[in-house]
């Protein structure tokens, strides 16, 4: 059972306090988008063994959505950050690089 720190209220939350929301940093495609774009947005997901970015909600706490960067293999958490961003902040990316040099995920590295 994971522990993730909610970046809003600072609580080190047990997984039972959280609800998962799947992959982070999806770009929404609405009307006018191509079939490929929409398929990618709705269905195509990363499934890495290693660095991953996820959405979590502090559902039984402050109620805020946040994002987490963690390793799916070792369960190491590189950091959590507010969901109001389209890309991982530099601090998070640097933290990952320190532990997993040369990492990449989607368009990020």
């Amino acid at each position: 059972m994971l522990i993730l720190t909610c970046p809003y209220c600072g609580v080190e939350a047990d997984e039972t306090e959280l609800s998962p929301g799947g992959e982070a940093h999806l770009k929404r495609f609405g009307p006018g988008s191509s079939e490929e774009e929409f398929e990618g947005y709705l269905f195509m997901r990363e499934n890495p063994k290693g660095v991953h970015f996820e959405r979590w909600r502090h559902a039984y706490g402050c109620g805020k959505w946040f994002l987490a960067a963690r390793c799916t293999m070792t369960l190491e958490v590189f950091g959590t950050y507010p969901a109001q961003t389209t890309e991982p902040p530099k601090k998070i990316r640097d933290a990952i690089s320190a532990k997993r040099p040369g990492w990449s995920w989607g368009d990020f590295k």
């Binding site: 059972m1 929409f38 369960l75």
Partner: protein, 1003 residues
Amino acid sequence: MSTRLPTGGRLIDRDTQLDFTFNGKRLRGCAGDTLASALLANDQTLLGRSFKYHRPRGLVASGAEEPNALLGLGKGSRFEPNQRATTTELFDGLTCESQNHWPSLEFDIGAVNNYASRFLPAGFYYKTFMAPRAAWKHVFEPIIRRSAGLGKAPTERDADRYEHFHTHVDVLIIGGGIAGLQAARAAAATGVSVMVVEQTAHWGGRAPVDGAEIEGQLADYWVRETVESLGKLENVRMRARTMGSGVYDHGYVLAYERVADHTPDDDRPRHRLWKIRAKQVITATGAIERPLSFAGNDIPGVMLASAVRDYVVNWGVSPGDRTVVVTNNDDAYRTAIVLKEAGLDVPAIIDARPEVSGALPEQARALGIAVHAGRGVAKVLGGKSVTAVKICAQAGEGAPVDEIPCDVIAMSGGWSPVVHLWSHCGGKLIWEAGNAHFRPNPDKAPTGHAGEVFVHAAGNANGAMTTSEVLADADAAGKAAGKAAGGKATRKAAPKAKEEPSEPMLPVWVMPQGADIKLRGKMWLDYQNDVKVSDVQLAAREGYESVEHTKRYTTLGMATDQGKLSNINGLAVLAGSLGDDIPQVGTTTFRPPYTPISMGAIAGEARAELFQPVRQTPIHTWHEAHGADWEPVGHWRRPYAFPRDGETVHDAVKREVLNTRENVGLLDASTLGKILVKGPDAGRFLDMLYTNMMSTLPVGKCRYGLMCSENGFLSDDGVVARIDEDTWLCHTTTGGADRIHAHMEDWLQCEWWDWEVYTANITEQYAQIAVVGPKARMLLEKIGGMDLGKEALPFMQWAEGELAGIPARVFRISFSGELSYEVAVPASRGLEFWIKLMMAGEEFGVMPYGTEALHIMRAEKGFIMIGDETDGTVIPQDLGLNWAISKKKDDYLGKRAQERSHMTDPDRWKLVGLETLDGSVIPDGAYAVGEGENANGQRNTIGRVTSTYFSPTLGKGIAMGLVHNGPDRTGEVIEFPTLKGGSIRARIVDPVFYDKDGEKQNV
């Protein structure tokens, strides 16, 4: 025969005798006995039958690894099958019975499987699944079903209670042997909090039995001193009878405490599940001795050498008069010595090693025990018990050179560290060739939140074999864990132990080395599931190379002991057959729990009324007092109907519908979701959430709206009221309130975070009562306070004021087709308001109605219900709801998805009404069949029923359904086959059955 020895037994109190029964036989044991030692003391060596061949089974082990001695324990509401005799503490009045045989343990019909064993090879199930089909259905399945499962399921409700404990600790130590105790001492000295759990009732593990000496004292003395001193430390907690069950992510550990198994009826909870968050975990879980694979190694009387030693030393029980020891290592000599010193006969030690020297063998020889070097067991003789053993050259093919009468064979194939808990959360193993075992790889330890190592193995569990190695290893683990958990480094050295010189062991996986198929077919690997050396070899020949596949194909290690004895031997045999090295073949995955834990412990307090919270409306008590027949809706309880004395539920529903249509009915609609959406961008936000336009809704008006997922599918519906310029009140379905609120927050926080919108789920702040029927207005006018006339409050508008002195918001909306007001009052005044309506309504014939009447009335009007007409694959366009989809908006959630080719296909199943030709009711979920058959030879389907009721208003069965091109086929008659045979014919009609023009709701 097995019996109680006149002296000895470090764990028993001979002065306290306990009575118990086995298969109805009255027996007697001592306080401190396990059920296993007590049975053995009473010469009860046959304890059960194996799963597949129903072979006679006796004790093999003395602890948690025991595969055979599974018994049905207790009676009635305290009966539980598959209880391990070796881990069951004896108590006065215990009753138990053997399992898996018929008609009796001694004479078992199922044992014919034994003689048919060549027809039940590895992969038997998979092979018979294939063909012929008829044989499977008529022959194999009935036989397997009858014999499947171990033990009997309890028939009564569990009389015991169970609980959960939650705790945090810096260092958790699993295992209370000398390694766990020393690790605790070392960790505690760093100043951090420490908790030690031990699965048995005793501290110290095996060391006292094995004759260890620590700091110049016998291990027993050191253990007592250490436990006492640890007990005095404020930062140390110790729990015996508590098994570390599983190690999970980020230091989460489950432990299973058997609080009162040994003291039933004393009112304490029987089991306790500990949910522990530990910064650091030390697995001091010891090691388990491996059996040797020789022909007849499953006959009762063949036991692990360490277990034989345990029974003598711990419980003063002799497993037999004449014990032959079979080994490939020095440790088993300790058993021979213990037996000899207890005055028992040890006619021979059969040692597979070609040359045997060293301190322990010399000691055995000095006691006059014959040591046969380079020898193995050719065959064990006996049926329900061992009578003799034939010995042979280990290097040969099994030609007997001698026969030795005996009643016990004590075997030792070496020791395997218990690496389960290390492995649960990702710890990897390395192969230690010298000891022929896997041990934890310290370079690949389980890691936690910050990438830090959080599990350390210690002692035997880490591959340390002698007492001094164990103590040094545990001391280092304790110090490392304490420091990692934030403690201060200490310099105190580990205690010293007497040296225990030993000669190397010799890996032996098959005995003798060149055994032929006849012998290999009698060498058991898995005693409980009846998997033999020959089965694993057959699997390898049939192409099973992966250890995980072989396990499933042969069922090796899949019994309730999860292969604690059989796994390493099995994979060594597999490696041998494949010509691979053991580490290349690898192990199967270790999964929690370490040993089975009770369902009661997992449930804890969550049973009966505490199983899950029940949500009650403010009017709940009134419903209860008036005989409500309840329906669970999510966590809510809603009245399904209010049957009166002598009335069936069905009749009550009928009466409630008719009365509402003719007079006036009251519905407790408080469970309806109510979400307030407020802010400068609220209108824009709701335009994205709903398929229709909400920003243009004038203040004071209501509008029915649909919400879709981004995948286009209809997800919720409800009426939205515009409260003021900045504020909308969104009604959701009862089950949808929390989900839709979360959905709103998700989009607001994660996509449109710059929009100024605030949402609040105010579902429970209001009681909401629907006043429905032609006399609804009269009733509300009578209680008075607001003008609710046709002009003052037209259909689809709302007004605020006071009714009967209670602040109220009145929505003029209808889900029944009748004149209808939904009145929201503060939750605290809901019951008062309800009672006032009931009293004032007497002259109008007011009656409460429940959810079934609600459903029927909405179906009569052709209104859809989320979850009936929708199932996550239905789009609003399928339901004829195009009128509720804005054509003007560029975007809303689900719009792009609804433009996909399959969604816009004119050839979809669409909503229609269905009227049966004979007036009967179509079964719920029935499918309509069309022409032809599909690829599976089934009739093609052309539609299905989504809602179906007897309509009291119309006096016949009505239904809604989704039918292929439905609306275009109005008037057509289609056929719904029923489960009973035959079919019901129904005509496709308009889904609005009642008051098509909506005149009744608009008066």
